[in-house]
């Protein structure tokens, strides 16, 4: 037995486990996506059991691509993921730089900053949509009402009253509406995931070389130049990692979308799968395959990007 055979042999069970874990669901999804398979049909009861005799070829794929929500779901997926990435990275860098300086109560502030990350996505969504973003009961409604009251009370003020009486009464934004539900999801997920970015950037900032900064100070670099030419390049790698991990995670957002508007005006591929899966397992599986393809395209782009920063 050569020296490598035994280790290989010992690895085999784990590798086989992993393959089963991956290949069986993928294989079943592929299989279902090529047959007619529904959960309930009175007219065609034979479609309720998966079988090769119900072969449909690329019919399910065609059906999904022609459905009215498909392109919108892909577009919306990318919009939500892109917006969240943009906001979390910018906020994350700013907050991390801000709390990297020593100040009293630093430990407490750090713990509190991380805490949103420990809240379950569904709970996060319920809290935000009902307690903060709700146009009547939430902070959103209360704040708008408060502003309206202040303006109304100014109408009778001497001298400037006429000026305030020209102001319109403002209406709170309803975040469950078709036009706004995507923003609600972006806001709440950004709130939940910014701490993750902060955590990663903060640890990276602590490894920043102090002598480099001192050299830069002597070289005449101000605070902004130090940030621009030293800190930002230093954060390049963690930013790439945060972007990659979050992109993969947020492609599969579901709970927030369901809770905010039940997909009204705001669908992504996982949500579309969920809608099809109410009855049409074949179409749901085909959508699943599309989601796999989309995730892979994005992952390849991201891996290239991360790989490039890691090579430097």
């Amino acid at each position: 037995m050569s020296s490598r055979t035994l280790p290989r042999l010992l690895q085999t069970p784990a590798v086989i486990m992993l393959l089963i874990w991956m290949l069986i669901p993928l294989g079943m999804t592929l299989y279902f996506s090529f047959i007619r398979y529904v959960l309930n049909s009175l007219r065609r009861p034979e479609w309720t059991t998966p079988s090769f005799t119900n072969w449909r070829g690329f019919g399910n794929y065609e059906f999904v691509m022609n459905s009215k929500d498909f392109l919108f779901a892909i577009q919306n997926s990318l919009f939500i993921v892109g917006s969240i990435l943009f906001l979390t990275v910018i906020l994350g860098v700013l907050i991390a730089v801000l709390i990297n300086k020593a100040f009293p109560g630093q430990g407490l502030v750090r713990v509190m900053l991380i805490s949103p990350f420990f809240i379950m996505p569904a709970v996060n969504a319920v809290l935000w949509i009902n307690m903060i973003l709700d146009p009547v009961l939430g902070l959103n409604g209360l704040a708008v009402e408060g502003i309206n009251n202040i303006i109304a009370s100014m109408h009778d003020a001497p001298l400037v009253g006429w000026f305030f009486s020209l102001w319109p009464k403002i209406d709170p934004i309803s975040f469950r509406a078709t036009q706004t539900s995507a923003y609600a999801v972006i806001i709440m997920v950004t709130w939940q995931w910014t701490p993750f970015a902060v955590l990663i950037f903060m640890t990276s900032l602590q490894s920043e070389d102090e002598q480099q900064k001192e050299a830069a100070i002597l070289d005449g670099a101000g605070k902004w130049s130090q940030f621009r030419f030293l800190t930002l390049p230093h954060l390049g790698r963690p930013i790439a990692i945060v972007v990659m991990i979050q992109a993969i995670f947020h492609l599969s957002l579901y709970a927030e979308i369901e809770i905010v508007s039940r997909g009204n005006g705001n669908k992504n591929l996982p949500y579309l799968i969920g809608e099809f899966a109410n009855n049409n397992i074949g179409a749901a599986s085909a959508t699943g395959i599309f989601a796999v393809i989309l995730a892979n395209i994005i992952a390849i782009f991201l891996l290239r990007m991360v790989g490039k920063t890691l090579m430097e």
Partner: protein, 336 residues
């Protein structure tokens, strides 16, 4: 340009006084070396001059101008750090250009200075590489290049050679000395290595616990150390220090004799010490013999010629050259 004066400078971190009130003048064009054991405050002193630390009290003057409250970048000093402190994501060219870019210098002027610096430091072939692709010595040269292009009033070196291997250190030492001769700019160099101090300095400042023990040229320190600490610190191998009966013979509390000022013989002579050879280090040019059994100093180190044949356990007789005996009083100060 570049006369640096410290007046009554004090540095405290909370309650601990790192540097008690201290006065020092470094003349224009001088190569001054701060030397002392680790933790003696020599780096803190350099950082005070650079402006990276604020003085708790006292004044720092450069060319007669009080710069105590002036920001580091406005003091016109350039510093070379022990860890090189190069910007890792920038090429060598951009690293060297950074201070000029911050100063808003024109592109043409920048390129001219970079080319000149790269040529004098043998970096021309490496300008487009990143610091990670360079060897330790090359990185150090880039750091020096970054300092040169600013044409500073004075260069500050913070243990710049400590991270290099021995052979490279000797080479870089020469390069820096030659650079000083060429530029004639004031340089302040911090090191814990007294060999670097002796070989490079015009003026050595020996520090211990934040206090200046002695200031002088290398040979002054070697010939007339002001106290026991300087006597033991300057010179390699170290001066042998004897106390007790042997010292009392010379009416001193402690006497010191350098290894190169002891005559050896295999036969007893008047006024000589008797000992046995412990270890003999044959360097070819010299032999350093460590001798045991001499009261008040164990082992005593002696420098002998390269071709002497001694071995472990040999009896040996030592007679110090009377004119080279350093005498120190009870409080450690030199007795003239």
């Amino acid at each position: 340009m570049g006369r640096i004066v410290l007046e009554n400078v004090v540095k405290r971190f909370d309650e601990t006084e790192v540097i008690p009130p201290l006065d020092l003048t470094i003349e224009e064009g001088e190569f001054a070396v701060f030397v002392g054991p680790s933790g003696c405050g020599k780096s803190t002193l350099l950082r005070l001059i650079a402006g990276l630390e604020d003085a708790t009290a006292g004044r720092v003057l450069i060319d007669g101008e009080d710069v105590t409250e002036v920001s580091p970048s406005k003091r016109g000093l350039a510093m070379v750090f022990q860890s090189y402190a190069l910007y890792p994501h920038m090429t060598v060219r951009k690293n060297i250009a950074f201070p000029m870019r911050m100063a808003g210098m024109s592109e043409a002027e920048q390129n001219e200075r970079i080319t000149a610096a790269a040529k004098s430091l043998n970096l021309t072939d490496y300008l487009d590489r990143k610091p990670g692709q360079l060897s330790g010595g090359q990185r150090q040269r880039v750091a020096i290049g970054r300092a040169i292009v600013r044409e500073p009033e004075a260069f500050l070196f913070d243990e710049p050679l400590s991270n290099l291997d021995a052979a490279l250190r000797v080479g870089m030492r020469l390069e820096i000395s030659e650079m000083h001769k060429r530029l004639q700019t004031t340089m302040i160099y911090v090191t814990h290595d007294q060999v670097e101090a002796m070989t490079m300095a015009d003026k050595i400042v020996v520090l211990q616990a934040g206090v200046i023990e002695q200031v002088g040229s290398p040979l002054e320190l070697y010939k007339t150390p002001r106290n026991v600490f300087v006597a033991g610190f300057i010179g390699s191998p170290k001066m042998n220090l004897l106390s007790g009966v042997e010292a009392a013979e010379y009416d001193a509390d402690t006497i010191g004799i350098r290894p190169e000022h002891i005559d050896i013989s295999m036969k007893s002579k008047k006024g000589s010490w008797e000992g046995t050879v412990g270890v003999a280090e044959h360097l070819g040019s010299d032999t350093f013999i460590h001798i045991h059994g001499i009261p008040g100093c164990d082992p005593m180190t002696v420098r002998a010629g390269g071709d002497i044949e001694v071995k472990h356990g040999d009896k040996i007789y030592l007679s110090p050259q009377a004119e080279h005996i350093h005498k120190f009083s009870e409080d450690g100060l030199r007795i003239p």
